[in-house]
Amino acid sequence: MICCVLSRSSLQDQNTKVAVVLIQKNAPLPPGDDLQALERAATLCSACDLSAKSLFVLPHTDHLIGYTIRLENAFYDLAQSYYHGECRRVKAHKEFLNKGTHQLLLVRHQFKVAFFNELRQDPHSAVKHYRQAYSLLGELKTSDINVLEIKIVAGFVNYKICRLSFQASAPLDAISQFRKHVDLFKEKVGCPDLAFEHSAWLSKQFSLFGELFDEAIRNGLTALQTQHPGFYYQQAANNAIVRRQLCQGLCHTTTPLSMNPLENAGNLDFFGQRPWRQGFQGAEPPDAGIEHAGIIALQAQEIQVDHSWIIIPLLSSAVAQFKKYKSPRMKRYLMVQMGEEYYHARDFSKALMLLGRVTWDYRREKWWSLLTSVLITSLRCAYLVGDMQEYITLSLELMGRYVENSPEEKTRCQTNLIQVMSNECPEPEPGCDFDAVEEAKELWKTLKVTPQTPQVFTIQMEQIAPFIECKAVFDSFTTTADSTILLQIYLRVTCPFPIRFCKIAVFFSNQFYNQQCVVETGLIQGEGGLYLLPAKTKVIPFQLVPQPEDVGKLLQVTSVALELGSRESRCAVLVWSGWGGETAIVNNYFVNYGLKSASKEDQIDWDDLKIVSKIKIEPRKPQIDIKLKHEPPALVNEFYELQLVVESLEDTPVKDLRVWLGFQDEHESAENAALIYSEVPAAHQAVGQTKSFIEFTVKETNQKIERSYFVKCSQVGSRTVTAKITYSVDVQVEPNSPPVTCTCVKEDSVVIEIVMPFEISLSLTNLKLERLDQVFEEEPFLLLAGIKCTSPWPVTMVTTTLNMSPEVGIVGEEMGSQLQGSLCSRWRRTSAADEFPVVITELTFPSVTVESVPFAIQTDLPAYGCVQTPLSVSYLVRNRTLQVQEVEVTVEPSDAFMYAGHKQIQFRLLPTGDHRLKFSLYPLCAGFVTLPKLHFNLPRFQVSWDEHAQKMVPSNVFIKPRGRELGS
């Protein structure tokens, strides 16, 4: 309670309200129940002169959150009503202000209103009043005396407006307000001696707006590539750079004065006023002397500021933003600026590193002007930190034709490079800080090499656009194993003076060639060797002999290394590599086309020169003749002669000649369908070596090889016989070089047509030469074989055998239902010698059905008869079955005969029994006459046997006319 009274007394003149919160350990009773508590509360209120509404109880229980929220709302209401009241109170002052006399107070008044509105969380009216304040501020007359104050206040108001606009999701309002703000004050520099103050202020405005914008983005605003905080950070940085430049121009270190005009700078009543004339509002400074002293003091203060550490963080914020909004080039530009700022801040190695990161892109995009400026700064840094590798690399570029600096600069650069390479100190770069140059000079002296520790720098030339260019050109894209390869290395320098290199080495995909392609010019002086004249192309030819292991492969120049300086002291190895891979294309392309080569007197058009860094080494062309002699067509199954003639046309003996002869690509055909023999097998020893190819090797020869082979094909069609020859031969590529062993391969093939030697047709007939489709048991038949020669060559049939199956003989016993057998012919070409094996061709008969007949008829008939002379005929009918057969025989009458015998008869035949029918015929006319027809009928069988029986009996007989007696 004492504390309550105390606080009240101290707050007396402020418009305050007191609220008391009692923190209670026990859970409260429902309101109204605890009469004692009510009474106590009333006492407390009256004692402290509190309204009952300002007393709160916060029970310290589990449900703390609910109580605190309620408490918060209650306080919020209190605060709001307070600010509302204050706001009203301040607004009420307005009528006491008039524009004529209280112009400054009006701004203050609007700011206050806006601020209270902001506090009572009414951003809308807050912005309205801030804007009013801002426009009132704009109406103020500015002079050198008050401009700083106005700008500082305008900065505050502007910050408030922008911030509230961003919070109200009105970024466009914020941006336009900021634009207006900057445009309004951009030109109002104020006192020219303190111009850096203006730049500092502008820089601050931009960076603050950038931060606001960035914050809005973090809260969900989306920015564009052309409108994002990066631009504002960039402007902030630019203004900071201007500030630094102004400072360098305006400020000088001074001895501090006895009276410090800035002594009250820390506790000013009003922002932006000068400490030595606070509250002064006149048009002219009250005391010119103090004013001058103040300006000097401010300048002295400014010179203490390390501007680079203001600029660099701003730039790096901008870099982050531009990176985010896909502006790589802007990012690079800012990095260049950052590098330059590090250079100003004398952090040369950091500058060098930053600048080194962007040069590649400028090179790639061929913005030579930008590259030049970056490189010049880098070279200064490299000089100042004594980074020799970088110094050499940068010099290589700055001497060349791509870089757009003056010829004098290039000359200077080359002189310096030569100095460095000959272990001397280079001349300092112009435009460097004096102190830094002095330090660097000392540094370079210490860098001098002692003979014990030579320095070698390897520089990748694809990464830069150097003064020297190199192209490796093979004379063709392919070569053969027995010819020399001509490789030409083209070198051209575009520096102002001639330059001498000490060594060139070419590296290949096969290391074997490397030592052949080295030129060292330690001794050669004058124009020879690796002394390169500006803009003149130098061609260095190398002759190579392909190695046997490279045949069929691609030989490739992997890199070219050129050495500048000497291995004993300092040496720069310039390496061009990766012409082969695809990375090379990406790395190398900026070197071309961007500029046309200037030198017209050069006989080689450098840009039209195509790099040929790969050469395919193909096998040597074989100098050997293969002939396969034969007489087509071949006959199936015969031993067909094939003559192989291999004739070497080489000058030297061929070695390790390997011949492969055989059928190719016929794996799918049946086994033994086509075989090849080195000699004809003896007649009866058929199967020995059965191969589909033959191989043989000859150690060394220079003669003609003739060999006969025999091919046996068992199928009609065409076959390809291929002869493959592999051999090696020693070739003298160069008159004095050791001979090279080349492996050559030659292949030749012939197509052989295979035809059948003859056609065999088989037919079955009965004894009457009628065609049979089936044969009958125990009945003789004829087998006719027709053999027709289809071969173009005469064929001799040595023997022909008929192999019958056991069922068939002259008379068979057991009868099957089918007949089989084969015709086997043995033959050879008529032209072949007798000892030449015969070919056996077997033709299997077609199957034929054998039917059984229940009876047989045997006819007994004379060969001929005579007219009017009796002729007796008998038919013996035999039962072939084991059953009794009933037979009916009827005889048809005939016009040619009169006959005696049964015309119709019925008889029984016992098993295997027989019956003879006898007829006496009396021929009536002569000629080949038809016999009376017998009809057989076997009633037991369903089928009619009559037709079959007709075939068993003769149908005609020859009847002679009656002989005339002599003399009558």
Binding site: R329, Y333, K366, W367, S369, Y589, Y593, K610, K614
Partner: protein
Amino acid sequence: MAVCVAVIGKEVNFLGYLAVFFLFDEILFLLQNYPLYLRTVSPEEELKFHYTVHTSLDVVEEKVSSLTKSSNDPRELYLGLLYPTEDYKVYGYVTNSKIKFVVVVESANTALRDNEIRTMFRKLHVAYTDMFCNPFYNPGENITSRNFERTVFEMMKKD
């Protein structure tokens, strides 16, 4: 009027030619975005304008890629205001063959409306086409034509 005029070489789709690269090592092309021509009013500030034009290519690239992606009408060559800096406004124009023109005007020069800028670009395009028709001009070389130079000079001189 304009304080800087630049012509920037075309961008070749690198991947499209990759196949050719494997055949011949060294067929190389007019590559991306390098300056064919750049003139400024004040030669002493040329480096700054080089940077301005170069950085504006970021926006050109973005606009060109979004153009080809979204609209089916490729006829609009004028890209409009690329980005405003504190002192300058940078405008872009891209021909059908992807040659880019960039014009920089002072921000203070409010007399220049969109229409004037368009006219400027059209003139520039005509001048470029005339220059290109010269059979002795090799595509990808820096522009040295006097007529072209005159057109640019007039654009920078006026008022």
